[in-house]
Symmetry: C3
Subunit: 309 residues, 3 copies
Amino acid sequence: MNEFYQKDIISIKDFDKENLEKIFAATDKIMNLAPSERREICKGKTLGYLFYEPSTRTRLSFDSAMASIGGNSLGISDVSSSSTQKGESLADTIRIMSIYSDALVLRHTLDGSSRFASEVSEKPVINAGSGTEEHPTQAIQDLFTIKKEKKKIDGLKIGIVGDLKYGRTVYSLLYGLGNYDVDVRLISPESLKIRSDSVYEIKKRLDYTESTNLEEHIDELDVLYVTRIQKERFPDEEEYLKLKGSYVVGLDLLKQMKSDSIILHPLPRIDEISPDVDKTQNAKYFEQAEYGKHVRAALLGLILNENGF
Amino acid sequence: MNEFYQKDIISIKDFDKENLEKIFAATDKIMNLAPSERREICKGKTLGYLFYEPSTRTRLSFDSAMASIGGNSLGISDVSSSSTQKGESLADTIRIMSIYSDALVLRHTLDGSSRFASEVSEKPVINAGSGTEEHPTQAIQDLFTIKKEKKKIDGLKIGIVGDLKYGRTVYSLLYGLGNYDVDVRLISPESLKIRSDSVYEIKKRLDYTESTNLEEHIDELDVLYVTRIQKERFPDEEEYLKLKGSYVVGLDLLKQMKSDSIILHPLPRIDEISPDVDKTQNAKYFEQAEYGKHVRAALLGLILNENGF
Amino acid sequence: MNEFYQKDIISIKDFDKENLEKIFAATDKIMNLAPSERREICKGKTLGYLFYEPSTRTRLSFDSAMASIGGNSLGISDVSSSSTQKGESLADTIRIMSIYSDALVLRHTLDGSSRFASEVSEKPVINAGSGTEEHPTQAIQDLFTIKKEKKKIDGLKIGIVGDLKYGRTVYSLLYGLGNYDVDVRLISPESLKIRSDSVYEIKKRLDYTESTNLEEHIDELDVLYVTRIQKERFPDEEEYLKLKGSYVVGLDLLKQMKSDSIILHPLPRIDEISPDVDKTQNAKYFEQAEYGKHVRAALLGLILNENGF
């Protein structure tokens, strides 16, 4: 029996290096299969999704992943505007969706929502983003991309730039990187530094240095992970406008970087990366999106098949 | 040829006991098939849905039912907010949807809408709720649940509690129960009793007693069917708040019931049934939801296969 | 290799008569296949859709077409109200959707949007309506319907009536008809005549006469193509109300037409065609909708299979 069979994917903190490497191997296997072989993996299986916070991109990534392995998807892409919200509890909604599907994908604003869901659901639950810290499948996708493009994760110098306070992607990535021996540089404006209440948890797992200056160590980085400065997180638009241009990655900056460094971004981007970077060999964010589809397909294949695939 | 082939499912009044028992047998058969066998039943067939009144739950029940038997679904989950509403007639919308699919599921606010739809559609029409009285697949699901959990329907004492005035589920269930020899108790506040204009139709089919007191005959019931008091049906919020707590089913009440009695609910519930009832052996509302999926799969399988399955 | 393999469908102007006839032949072939054979054509392939302008009907036509040939669909049916709109560029959205799918269907308000999309997409792009002129699959559907119902296109007298100014369907149809030797009559109120800036392009392709009087040449027409006068295009409701009844096709008018003439309409209709026309042998607009599904299935089959089907 494979260790992920019928398992929930709640937090990236639940994964050690060995777990991650197994998922990476399964992802590689998926990518090497012929489409017709892939479609046997979850043939006729159904993925149910419940998005309490809309995220078209993550939903489509799961949907296309499930389609690629022969399954189908159904669910509610915006629970708050759906008729489900007639005062029904999350527990009941989860229970019903778990009747309609073989595995459940949940996105929710609250920390702990997926953990709770996994307790009431008869079917495995996959956290597609919850609260302020957790987006485990995004973190696995990011780690897989680094591994795939740099051939290793250990020993790399990794810069993470942008809004480090509000983006849960960053926290999940940091917890995931904690399984590897990496040198992490966090670059952000003072007001968008890692939240102080998460520092302890992160420091338990890895060392990092902080800076407000993107150019400072740019020539040493193997990986530059760029994040969007999300307008909707700012109470004040003026503050947003002042900050959003601070860390734009363009060709000028790229010239200062190692020639084999890679640029990642969880997407969507606004203007943090200039479009003329897209065609360089360093730009790997679209590959990252594609790997995300295969990582999710691999996870679903492992969760839904007793003996793997 | 099976008698349901290419037939419309418009009203529960069109079904006699023999029809119902055939659907129950088909549902049992579906439940006993291996998933790969099930998926042959409607392989490659398409279900079209048109929801003029949103109902995520019913839509997902049909969608997952169709997926379980190998088919797929497409349609409009909220016609009122869709571009279809550029002044197009219901007849035209139905005709077009019947081109895109092998069978049509319709939910509509108006009585008679499904009957009308079946007249203009080239494909069989399934009523997924119309007007004030009809929700035939819910009624079949409810009857199947009773049969499955109590091994019979004839001879049972069945209490139906809550908002009996506005919930079409109750009317469909009563018409369906009219095929059996049952003893029905209707329990509701005075202001939420069965509508007087439906009394004649119901009395033609079965006898019932009415009461405002849930505890009165609680110890005699084999089945307690609980319904939600729907806030959106009340012109006055104060009136709603006064009534909604009147018929809460909790462990205290359950203790007064027969040990092998069952509690049903069409879901979603708000607080009519206390969550601590969920884990008792009497709670069968989640089973009821699951049976609903299989009942719908059975109906679709019968409607779309000349020789049944 | 078939000439449409991995090709974009951007403008009806890109199609010559030979291209069109090949698509018609492929459509005929699709219609003659058994459902189980059809479903092999795009088995396991995924169609991605992006609708920046909602159009339930066109989306469902593509969705059902893809289902009929064994593929599945995913995407965003209303981009403007989706979370994708966090300031992401069209180019990025297209690139991501092209990762999730084997071909892309795009509807967009802007002229040139599909051409642009095809340049950034790794997968073939199909224009499902853009700007003021282009809706190539609708035009192919219309031409196929005429061919199918009249056995030919060359030599026919074709009247197009209604709102000729704002409906892009009309422009696409005219450009498509430019490949044939047809006699075209354009009938509209003065204020809704063909836009002057398109006249040159149309006249390069075909000759037409203009009139405000529908009855004038009605007895000569082989095909009457009726279009809706779209309320949402009028700045002034009074102007709309004055005009919308001007060209209603009823049984009276039909009596003046050749007995083997056909009435087409891209649908949805409001009251441009009286419902009592529906049952006459001249009414072919529901057939037209059905052909549209098969035309789209044929196009997808050609685009996604190197050696056709």
